[in-house]
Point group: C2
Chain length 315, copies 2
């Protein structure tokens, strides 16, 4: 973090775009400000960029794993909208040291995950670049998109699965921690699974949704901002995965603080009045929606306002 | 050019993708291998990346001009498909020295061109990067897309406008040539105009189409490959713009060779049986389609095969 990114992060640019670009096309149901854009005909589009050293580290990512990882992260935006994937366009930014064999391996990673979700690779381009990177555009469809803006007072806040695991995995790999004690965390960082299938049942009762890509506080804040509501996270309800607990204990970090600011789990953070009894997915109730604005946390009965401290993509 | 890019350029990667990724989705009419991908519901999508020092030079591009230029280049792929633009998603890769003022200027450039074509900026993302770059995904629509694959023997090859102008403009700016002698070339490099409006009348009689982004020989070769035909370019029919003529004469370059390998004019190269009488756009007939394969050039009555020598995006 430096003064540069504090002055204008992603949010400042979103604001700038909203000011400069009025909505002109009736064909577009939702533009800037959600996980993906949505056409009235049900087509959903999202784009994400991944840079070596910023988003991934080739010291422990094989090219095949990298392909899987980046496509999964991209697809998570479709999951957050309740959309099913159709295809992806991959723009590769290659440095001179990446040969056709490595590119083949990268596409093997794409192949594994696109097969699982029955998608096409339908386009893209290739350019030389001073740094290895890729931009993935994913396209999906849904008749009834799940927006960030549907949360209402009286509803509760839920999350699929544990949070913080991916960041533990990343740090364990980065810092050369004993790997065998963090199998789930490492797997979660390398092979995150977009919640493409679970969201199809979740969207039957969810009223708003976002994926946890930037950390619980940032993501919950986005949800609150777009829905114009106050969100209270109940600290005691946030589940701590044993590997997250172990890591935080060794590193002397408060697990709650760690989870608030750890991204890339690609779980779904959503609101609903209540859960159905026969839900198929692991879901935790971690907060509530109230009238007002801002992000709050309730710890041992005391509610205080918190800043969205999570990882913004500009760091 | 080095051994690296000869071994695998864009074409090698397209081949790799075609082998690895079967077409799975019936919703997709056209995937890899055209200027853009096309859904059966008429949505057309294309993605392009632009890097400082590779695709643009900030020594003579203002941020606003850059915004116009990159969006125009991206939209040219929609024009080549006969599609009308709906919106764009912009993924910005920012270096630390680019402040919010500069970003505002960049978006002013986007604003000018998106207004002209009545488009939205509907999404994107922002990341820090070791090099300034952007990936633009443009989305348009058309009921009847114009493919690269429709050329048939007996048809003729046409191009809208002069070729080579943009490359002259680029070199004049780069080499600090006297600017006042190359006004059209310079304007063409800085502010190329995607043929969004003209294509709507051209598509009534055109059978195949590509935009001239990589140089006449490369682009004509793509058209021939996708249509599985032989293309003969008639050297004497290629129009030489006075500024291209002047530049080539001073630099002692053969104008024909220059035009064959100079890209980024973003004109339309298309095939048709014949032109209608009351056409509105400047169109030159520069070649013919024959049975067979390969790219040929006819010079003073002699026909010889040529290699696609144009600028491939990997250089």
């Amino acid at each position: 973090m430096n003064s540069w990114d504090k002055k204008f992060g992603e949010l400042a640019i979103i604001k700038l775009i909203r000011q400069k670009f009025p909505k002109r096309r009736k064909e577009i149901l939702k533009g800037i400000g959600d996980d993906a854009m949505v056409f009235r005909n049900g087509i959903v589009v999202s784009t994400d960029s991944f840079f070596e050293k910023i988003h991934f580290d080739l010291n422990y990512f094989s090219m095949s794993t990298l392909g899987y990882h980046c496509m999964a992260a991209s697809l998570s935006d479709l999951a957050a909208m309740g959309a099913s994937p159709l295809c992806a366009l991959v723009s590769l930014h290659l440095t001179k040291n990446i040969d056709i064999k490595k590119i083949g391996e990268l596409y093997s990673g794409f192949e594994k995950i696109t097969k699982k979700y029955r998608m096409d690779i339908a386009g893209g381009d290739v350019v030389t670049s001073p740094s290895f990177a890729m931009t993935i555009t994913v396209i999906g469809h849904t008749k009834n998109p799940l927006m960030r803006s549907g949360a209402k007072p009286g509803q509760a806040l839920f999350v699929t699965n544990f949070l913080g695991l991916a960041e533990v995995g990343r740090r364990v790999l980065k810092m050369n921690f004993p790997k065998k004690e963090y199998p789930e965390a490492i797997h979660k960082h390398l092979f995150p699974e977009p919640r493409i299938f679970p969201v199809q049942s979740i969207k039957k009762f969810a009223t708003s949704c976002i994926d946890t890509s930037d950390g619980l506080s940032t993501d919950a804040n986005h949800l609150g901002e777009e829905s114009r509501v106050k969100i209270v996270i109940d600290a005691e309800h946030i589940p701590i995965h044993p590997e997250v607990g172990r890591f935080c204990s060794i590193k002397n970090i408060e697990p709650l603080q760690f989870i608030l600011s750890s991204g890339e789990d690609f779980e779904l953070l959503f609101t609903a009045y209540k859960l159905p009894k026969n839900k198929r997915t692991k879901i935790f109730r971690i907060g509530r929606i109230m009238k007002g604005r801002g992000l709050y946390i309730s710890v041992r009965g005391k509610i205080r306002r918190i800043k969205p401290t999570g990882y913004e993509h500009i760091v």
